[in-house]
């Protein structure tokens, strides 16, 4: 256990005062072991030696049980946030209420549902219809979010969410005493802290247990909780004036729209990570992601200068007005469909529409024929041709990966790198699939990146985020803007940077440049978001070609050997000078790996283009 960890023995809680102290629960008496001691010591001894302290005599496990028997009784030991040191945490510590911070004590599972959806929403909009199974006060006001001005008591299975509200939201909410009721959902970007009951013990261990694949875990938001003052505790009462359980008309559509918008951005964000093996280029985000962000956030200067304008279909998917054709509008409708899968006849009908407007009808008909006979892979090889309308390729991708039941939003990534060579199209396909499946159904992180360039692999994360983990201000502002576009499409976009900047400081992100002649590192920042970007150099490509060459040694009988002779002879494993027909002949042999090392360490200088040609010749088998 780490310093500050909490454990329980015979109903009494203790806190460790040093790292490396272990509580051996099975031992009755001598149950404390330290790193230096082979034998366990008793609790009393451990307290005497300053290893642990007793913090409370309340039995945490009993709290929940007691509450279950009699929900009306408030015999809980109340808990609130505690300020603990966190290596991630740079945000202001929670100890008292700021003007626009409110608190929500919620069932742990409900908190996970909010994170999975990217939305904090009243129970009545829960599609699973199970919100009443949660154990918290939100169940009593199904059509509203109930927020408290002050810190609240928690049960052992609950969490205290710290929520940031816009001043206008506070004004428009219904207030009873220090309780606020909000009838509309809030974006997850407003979540700025998660208080955990102290009874759960070691907070890191507790968070490690959050393993649901669709729930993003913003680790740095978690803090331990302790008891609030008596005056802060609020008695929650059912308000007869507000026991409506009716949803607000149109709000479900806004929730679906938000899910689609977030799904587009989440599925699009990693599009550049999937192709590095094929292209020798890697970026955390595709450039077009930031071009779209510029439009979504109404800001300039986010995208790298070389980035392209987003395709009108992409903008239309996000509800941003763009000039689109009739067929693009039809694809758009399909990408917004709520159906469990896209039926062949529906897809065929749209294909027909695209076909009627196309110029190269014969080729398109051939591709569609393959698609509808089940040969998607052959179809998209044709559909990627620039002469064919882009919406045909998007339709193919959508139709193929439309099964909600078979988790197609996950399987689509497995063979993207094999199937697609047109990056613009693949982005559109991913965005359309993101819209169709929505944010909620996505994994929080990639399960795997299926195609990574070996030279880039050491520098990148294997399981990057798909869903938003609220790690940057930029991410929060993006979510906020998408929320505004989804819930208030008619209103002008409000700049939210001021809302967040006073509460969330950027993480202390250090970036170390990759120093290698094999990669060009053009990592850059977009506000407080770091975007890693690497490109394999020509030398890097040659090193890879050399590695793939099925030889262990290089000698003068190869083109490569002849080219490198003058530079490598001094490092050769063997060499021989002989005379034949009156001519001096130099022979040498050097291990291939040694040559690779010499190139990587820049101990020999090569002309990469010449070496590449030499390698190509050797691969062709032209070398005598």
């Amino acid at each position: 256990m780490y310093k500050g960890s909490i454990f329980e023995k015979d109903g009494i809680r203790y806190e460790t005062l040093q790292d490396g102290i272990e509580h051996v629960a099975k031992n009755r008496s001598a149950c404390i072991r330290t790193k230096n001691l082979s034998k366990c010591i008793t609790i009393k001894q451990a307290i005497r030696e300053g290893l642990i302290i007793q913090i409370t005599a309340v039995k945490s496990g009993d709290l929940f049980k007691a509450e279950k028997k009699d929900p009306g009784k408030k015999n809980l030991k109340p808990v609130v946030f505690d300020s603990i040191a966190s290596e991630y945490l740079k945000i202001e510590r929670v100890s008292s209420r700021k003007e626009n911070i409110y608190f929500m004590p919620v069932d742990k599972l409900r908190a996970q549902v909010y994170l999975a959806h990217g939305l904090i929403y009243p129970s009545v909009y829960d599609k699973a219809g199970l919100s009443n199974d949660f154990d918290d006060s939100q169940c009593q006001t199904p059509a509203d979010l109930t927020l408290f001005e002050t810190l609240q008591p928690l049960k052992s299975n609950q969490l205290l969410l710290k929520i940031l509200l816009h001043p206008n939201e506070i004004k428009s909410a219904e207030q009873t005493g220090k309780i606020l009721r909000l009838a509309i959902p809030l974006p997850i970007s407003r979540l700025i802290g998660i208080g955990v009951p102290s009874s759960v013990g070691d907070i890191n261990r507790y968070v490690d247990g959050w393993v649901k694949p669709d729930v993003p875990v913003p680790r740095y938001l978690f803090t331990t909780a302790t008891a609030p003052s008596k005056s802060d505790q609020q008695e929650f009462r059912w308000d007869s004036q507000r026991k409506s359980v009716k949803p607000i008309e149109g709000l479900s559509e806004s929730i679906s729209r938000f899910d689609r918008y977030l799904g587009i951005m989440a599925l699009l964000r990693n599009a550049r990570r999937y192709f590095s093996e094929k292209t020798g280029y890697y970026a955390d985000y595709p450039d077009v992601f930031f071009s779209i962000c510029e439009r979504v956030l109404g800001k300039n200067g986010l995208a790298p200068s070389e980035s392209q304008m987003p395709h009108p279909l992409l903008l239309s998917l996000l509800g941003i007005e763009a000039q689109t054709s009739q067929t693009v509008s039809s694809v758009l409708l399909l990408a917004q469909s709520q159906e469990p899968y896209i039926e062949k006849e529906i897809a065929r009908s749209l294909a027909n529409e695209i076909y009627n407007h196309a110029e190269d009808k014969e080729t398109l008909a051939q591709a569609f024929k393959m698609l509808f006979s089940g040969d998607y892979r052959s179809a998209i090889q044709i559909l990627q041709r620039p002469s064919l309308p882009i919406e045909a390729a998007v339709l193919a991708g959508l139709y193929k990966f439309s099964g909600r039941q078979s988790n197609d939003q996950r399987t689509v990534k497995q063979r993207l790198h094999q199937d697609w060579s047109n990056m613009n199209q693949v982005r559109l396909v991913l965005a359309a699939i993101g819209s169709y499946h929505g944010y909620t159904s996505l994994d929080a992180r990639e399960t795997s990146l299926y195609s990574i360039h070996p030279l880039i692999r050491p520098y990148i994360e294997n399981r990057p985020e798909i869903k938003f983990h609220l790690a940057t201000n930029f991410e929060r502002q993006l979510i906020e803007a998408l929320y505004q576009r989804a819930f208030f499409p008619q209103d002008p976009l409000q700049d939210s940077s001021a809302l967040y900047e006073s509460f969330i400081a950027p993480k202390d992100r250090k970036t170390q440049r990759v120093a290698s002649n094999l990669l060009v590192d053009s990592t850059y920042f977009v506000e407080d978001l770091i975007v890693y970007r690497y490109k394999v150099t020509l030398i890097g490509r040659i090193v890879m070609l050399l590695r793939s060459w099925k030889r262990d040694t290089i000698d003068e009988n190869t083109e490569v050997g002849r080219y490198l002779m003058s530079q490598c002879i001094s490092q050769a494993d063997e060499y021989e000078l002989s005379k034949k027909f009156g001519r001096q002949i130099l022979r040498y042999r050097i291990a291939k790996n040694k040559v690779i090392d010499l190139i990587m360490e820049q101990k020999i200088s090569i002309n990469p283009r010449v070496l590449e040609v030499a390698l190509e010749e050797d691969f062709k088998g032209n070398t005598k």
Binding site: L109, V113, A128, G209, V215, P340, G374, Q405, S406, S448
Partner: protein
Amino acid sequence: MPFEFHLPSMEEMRATPDGMGMLRMIDDDNFHTALISGCPGSGKTTVSIYRLVRLNSQQARIRLLTYQNLLVLAIRKLANVQQVPPQCVSTFHKWYCPITGSAFNTDRPPTSQEMSECLQRSQLSHQGLDEILIDEGQDLPLCVYQNIPNYADRCFVGADNGQQVHPKHGARMEEIEQSLRESFGPFQRFALGRNFRNTYETYRFARQFISMNNLVAWDETILERLLHENRRGPKPIVITYRNPEQRNEHMRVTLQNAEGNVAILCPLGPYNRNYNHSGASVDEVHEFVTQMGIPVSKYHHRTGVPQDLQRRLVTTYKSSKGMEFNVVIIPRINFFTEIPEELYVACTRARGQLFIYRDLGDPLYDPVGGFLPDTYDSESLETHPAAEAGTVPF
């Protein structure tokens, strides 16, 4: 590409009737022993695997012991994603024998006393496990439940009398419960109902293999629930053929276009000289799929468990029990004897698409013959209808 084992998402679980209960069970550590029961497909194994992943993430010392070799292999694939060490998952026998140094024969199980002595001498007595999870607990003898809980802070058992394959020596659920409740409290009991992972279309098709007298399989509320939960997908595709080479060519395209984990299921494991129709045995199908240049694993009772599982797997109907795949392909549905339950199991392994090849050259043994035509889409490899004049050519 290797087989990928995925935990169901929280939202998938919440969409099922017992989902919330399952989610609570995954996080509940307030017991010494627990028993979870439920019929096939109820989610017992899912809860156990989830607990395994959670506890492993929390650095707990754990073991998941199950009965099915393929399932062990599939769960071990979690190591790629969730960092679960492979040694945390095994069959009971493969775990018990090395740690105690003595064999464990389910057909001649030790007495409780013998097992107790054996365990006391074993390294398990000072290993101090946090939790032992036992899946398919009904196939282990009672002595296991009279002793194993002594060696872990918690023991979580999944069992179902209906799935007992060792009725003579396997413990009944009631016996397991009595032992755990009386000797190893605090005890918790969880019961799960049936959670279907098939689509409406697959289930409606698959139940036709089973006699209509089987009221459980033909319970209309199952279909109603699947409709209500919007579990819909494309209809199964039945492809008729006479020439196996035509079938193979069609299957090659199907395999190349099948996403995720794919099962190719056959009634027989080893090649059978007396019944040598192409598509009937795992060995033969594995051979011709490999010859197509498509990487594929195989498993049946005579092969060892493959070291590495590809995302495409050829196995028997029986061995596929308990597993699920994005796509299921049955290369030849005809078989010389009636095996309705096995066919039902095979078809219900499909989460997404189901492809069934039907040999018109063997009409006597055609289990799909009497199926309602609207329960599947049919395709014939014999006829190629010409495009009608004036219609779109696709």
